[in-house]
């Protein structure tokens, strides 16, 4: 699922890049060539294979990365990070059992590395073991020093994919608490989840939070009005829409004339007509 989410868009991008250009990372290829020269000079140096393997990994040439990691292993590379890198590459190659096996080996040697929980959870999810993936991700959320909104969203999506929307919302609340801030990106996700639950008062509350905490409000007023109209609360929708118009009107002209604001103006007019066709 995660692979699908993160890598398909990437593949889509690649697909409209002109055919025949495979050298996506010039700098990396140069470094790989340099590292290859070093390997030629020191063919028994496990470090060099590990280093080139990582360059291949960054270059998204996962099979060659794995080959180099295996050679490094054979030559006696001693740092346990090698197992983590192999786990990452196996995961990207969709060999989830091998990925888990490497990861387990690494976890025994580096139990405090929370990134292992993140990777393990993703592997489990790809294997379809969503229930098992949730507590592992939760461990990551609990232990990671600097949580990001992306982490919180991924965790919430994992939970919601298991059909538990309420817990998914709780995960976002917990995440925002840990972040020490309530980014709009997470509030918008809560709005989606509350909408699916039919908890419209909570949706409205989130829009109000966005309105109260944002600098400019016209966009959030419009979104709130659109939502209220969708749930047939046109009396409230009308107020929000008027407030959107008033906010837009008060902007400096240079902002009003930005194409995004002109588009918003049109959307406000259209919604006005929908709410009050007379």
């Amino acid at each position: 699922m995660i692979l699908f989410k993160f890598f398909l868009p990437f593949v889509a991008f690649l697909s409209w890049i002109p055919v025949g250009h495979t050298d996506l990372h010039d700098g990396l290829l140069r470094q790989i060539r340099q590292k290859t020269k070093e390997i030629e000079a020191h063919p028994k140096d496990a470090n060099l294979y590990f280093e080139r393997g990582y360059l291949y990994q960054l270059h998204e040439d996962y099979r060659k990365a794995l080959q180099d990691y295996n050679v490094a292993d054979m030559l006696g590379f001693v740092r346990s990070i090698l197992a983590f890198r192999k786990a990452e590459v196996y995961y990207l190659l969709r060999d989830y059992d091998s990925a888990l096996s490497c990861l387990k080996w690494y976890q025994e040697r580096a139990p405090k590395d929370v990134l292992t929980s993140l990777l393990e959870s993703r592997i489990l999810r790809e294997k379809g073991e969503v229930k098992a993936a949730i507590p592992v991700f939760h461990h990551f959320i609990q232990e990671v020093e600097d949580l990001t909104p992306e982490n919180v969203l991924e965790y919430s999506e994992l939970i919601s994919s298991n059909g538990d929307l309420t817990s998914a919302i709780e995960a976002i609340e917990e995440g925002m608490h840990r972040l020490g801030t309530r980014p709009p990106t997470l509030l918008l996700r809560e709005i989606q989840l509350y909408s699916r639950l039919g908890a419209y008062d909570q949706v409205e509350k989130r829009y109000n939070e966005l309105i109260l905490t944002g600098g400019r409000k016209e966009h959030w007023y419009y979104e709130k009005a659109r939502f209220l109209h969708q749930i047939h609360r046109d009396d409230k929708a009308e107020i929000a829409l008027m407030q959107a118009g008033i906010e837009l009107e008060s902007l400096p002209d240079r902002l009003k004339n930005d194409s995004a604001m002109q588009e918003l103006q049109q959307k406000i007019s259209s919604l006005k007509k929908e709410i009050n066709p007379k």
Binding site: L153, D253, R254
Partner: protein, 692 residues
């Protein structure tokens, strides 16, 4: 408190509260050396070893860099160089008792082992077990080749003759260079050793964060004040640490506060006129602003330093606000090749020391920084080194992450995006929309590492990160009025025409279609007949895109992107200056200054009608008196249609007051912004109302 500080200021400066520091080996000292690649076993490190047959020479010793005082031999073949070279120096000590701690400092390229009187006391860049055939563990390159590293040990000196013996190991037989220099100081009590000089972060109108590093844990005080002679305020750390990060708050806008760092024993980073927090002007204020912009700077080599020096010369000699640098904008790849902490030290902190202690530094992640940093977990040196606003503390919408964030400075809104791993990230894109549609600032400047347009050493037609930034993020930036977009990655300088709406490949660029304004297809240079690019109330479109990735190195490329007005294969950095131009107008000028000190490219965006607000003329059938209102208000209807109701809504659409007459009491209504609904038999109107 003041009395205490007065007392402290008479204490001698850096480290001098340590008693009796004795320099035992000077930098560039005379050393004996053996450069024949032979096996020497272990006896050569002892005091008794007879080195009378060895050669003599002053440090720096080595070969291959051209900066050596003594060039040593690598043997007969440049592809089969000696692996190990040996160095010895003896010194006499009369009384070892007060020399309890030894601070050793060295330049080494590549691996090094140091012995004191036969005992191994320091090994760097070497495996745990090694002999004369063992290569250094990694290549030392760039700025690290000249960087001093250090180690402190307990003194185990002997009365009389002592010997420091050092072996330098090559990374490979074909490696081009080795370097060695060394100095050693003995202390009775160790001084506070500053291993990373102060640098300013999170500059805002109310404060800033000061960060620095010490070799050992110290509980520090940060003293600050508006006069260098009187630092009359202080904050103190709660515990002894090595990574120091102190937030100074409650300062006045646009004011300079000098700083000093001390312990209760006295200052160990003394005050100086060039070290200060200069707070930002009030948000929205139209004033002169200068930003120094550095892309792909982190080579640590002479090119980087030449580029730096030319900016220092420029800012010192310019008649227009000399010595004013309000911020440094790093466009990523700040420390080659992997953004490690050591590489950051040699390629950023050791290079820009002077400017980092006076101008807040902001950065976006580069792909090389990303080799050792993880945006998903906010981990790695890049995220450890920098402090950026996650909670909208300095203007803008909270992002919850240091990977992408925004901040305000005067009337400019800066947006920093992460293009290394989050170029397909919907969360970042959603945040960008929320953030840019939240600002009312007069100028919007965006920065991210991967350029949307480039035919430099990276090709924006081919690489996914560049394509994604162009096709996903540019439409949001442009439709919301971005003025300037700064990127690096390609090691050259490329600067676009005045663009809008070009999201395809280079060969689809059409000057007629994708440039805006009367002269958007020209140079934008106000000193030529082309004239500055114009942005006005009625024509708010247009942005300039700059790829400035040559602050540390240049790389050959075609440099023929069609959207570019200027494409230069030159080392250099950019300077952005914004200044007033008459009433309600400003100029944003960017200069590219190369490593010869020449301004190779210059353009200006002239923006007029910055504050103009025009309300649509409306045929109002009513009048509200007063507005703003305090205790109450009266609405007079000008038409024959009678008023049926007044309703007052707060910001979130809740009813807070109402009336069936033309009078509305505001008793109990808290001050703020409201919306008044005025209903007559024939119409409903809404009006903004301020309650004071």
């Amino acid at each position: 408190m003041k009395k205490l500080f007065t007392l402290i200021f008479f204490v001698p400066l850096v480290g001098l509260f340590a008693q009796n520091p004795v320099r035992l080996i000077e930098q560039d000292a005379l050393w004996k050396y053996l450069d024949n690649g032979s096996e020497q076993g272990s006896n050569w490190t002892s005091i008794e070893f007879d080195d009378s047959g060895w050669k003599k020479g002053h440090a720096q010793l080595g070969y291959g860099d051209g900066d050596e005082n003594t060039v040593v031999s690598y043997g007969g073949s440049k592809n089969n160089k000696y692996i190990t070279t040996y160095f010895r120096r003896d010194f006499d000590v009369d009384d070892p008792a007060p020399l309890k701690h030894l601070l050793m400092e060295a330049i080494r390229d590549d691996g090094m082992a140091v012995y004191l009187n036969g005992q191994l006391v320091w090994a760097d860049n070497m495996r745990a077990k090694f002999d004369y055939r063992t290569y250094a563990s990694s290549t030392i390159s760039g700025g690290a080749e000249d960087a001093w590293i250090n180690k402190t040990i307990k003194g185990t000196l002997k009365k009389g003759k002592n010997v420091i013996a050092v072996e330098i190991h090559q990374r490979s037989r074909s490696s081009s260079d080795i370097s060695f220099n060394f100095k050693m100081t003995a202390y009775d009590k160790l001084p506070v050793q500053v291993t990373r000089q102060p640098y300013i972060q999170m500059g805002s109108q109310a404060g800033a964060t000061v960060r620095w590093r010490t070799a050992s844990p110290v509980r520090s005080q940060l003293l600050y004040g508006t006069s260098l002679q009187s630092l009359d305020s202080m904050i103190q750390e709660e515990e002894a640490v090595t990574e120091h990060e102190m937030a100074v708050t409650g300062l006045k806008p646009d004011t300079r506060y000098y700083i000093e760092i001390a312990t209760t024993d006295g200052a160990y980073i003394p005050r100086e006129s060039g070290m200060f927090i200069h707070t930002s002007p009030e948000t929205g204020k139209k004033t002169f602003v200068r930003a120094w912009i550095l892309g792909d700077a982190g080579t640590g080599n002479v090119n980087q330093k030449k580029v730096r020096n030319e900016y220092y010369d420029y800012v010192a000699s310019t008649p227009n606000h000399p010595e004013q640098t309000d911020m440094i904008l790093f466009l990523g790849d700040n420390a080659y090749s992997s953004g490690t902490d050591q590489q950051y030290q040699s390629s950023l902190f050791d290079v820009y020391t002077k400017m980092l202690k006076r101008a807040p530094a902001w950065s976006t992640l580069g792909n090389h920084d990303g080799r050792s940093a993880n945006s998903q977990a906010q981990s790695g040196p890049y995220y450890d080194i920098f402090t950026f606003p996650k909670k909208g503390e300095i203007g803008g919408v909270p992002s919850g992450t240091e990977a992408y964030y925004s901040f305000d400075y005067a009337n400019i809104h800066f947006i920093v995006l992460e293009s290394v791993t989050l170029f397909l990230d919907q969360t970042q894109l959603n945040w960008l929309k929320a953030d840019i549609q939240s600002t009312k600032q007069d100028w919007v400047v965006a920065l991210f590492h991967h350029p949307p347009y480039s035919k430099g050493s990276h090709n924006s037609d081919l690489e996914p990160n560049l394509v994604a930034m162009r096709s996903r993020f540019l439409p949001v930036l442009e439709s919301n009025g971005v003025d300037l977009v700064l990127s690096g990655h390609s090691h050259s300088y490329e600067r676009s025409y005045f663009l809008n709406g070009h999201y395809g490949f280079s060969n689809t660029f059409d000057k007629d279609k994708h440039t805006v304004g009367a002269n958007g297809r020209l140079s934008g240079n106000p000193d030529t007949p082309d004239g500055a690019y114009e942005k006005s109330v009625k024509t708010p479109k247009g942005a300039v895109y700059i790829t400035s990735g040559s602050a540390g190195k240049i790389s050959n490329a075609s440099l023929n992107h069609r959207a570019m007005y200027a494409s230069l294969l030159e080392l250099g950095s950019c300077i952005m200056e914004i200044e007033n131009d008459g009433a309600d107008a400003q100029n944003l000028t960017v200069k590219f200054i190369n490593d010869a000190g020449q301004v190779s490219d210059l353009f200006t965006i002239h923006k007029t009608g910055i504050s103009t607000v025009t309300r649509m003329a409306e045929e109002k059938g009513y009048e509200i008196m007063p507005n703003p209102a305090k205790a109450g208000l009266v609405v007079s209807i000008r038409t024959q249609t009678p008023l049926t109701s007044l309703t007052l809504y707060n910001v979130i659409g809740e009813i807070v007051a109402g009336s069936k007459t033309g009078q509305l009491s505001l008793k109990g209504v808290t001050p703020g912004q409201y919306t008044l609904r005025i209903e007559t038999a024939s119409a409903t109107n809404y009006h903004a109302l301020i309650v004071q």
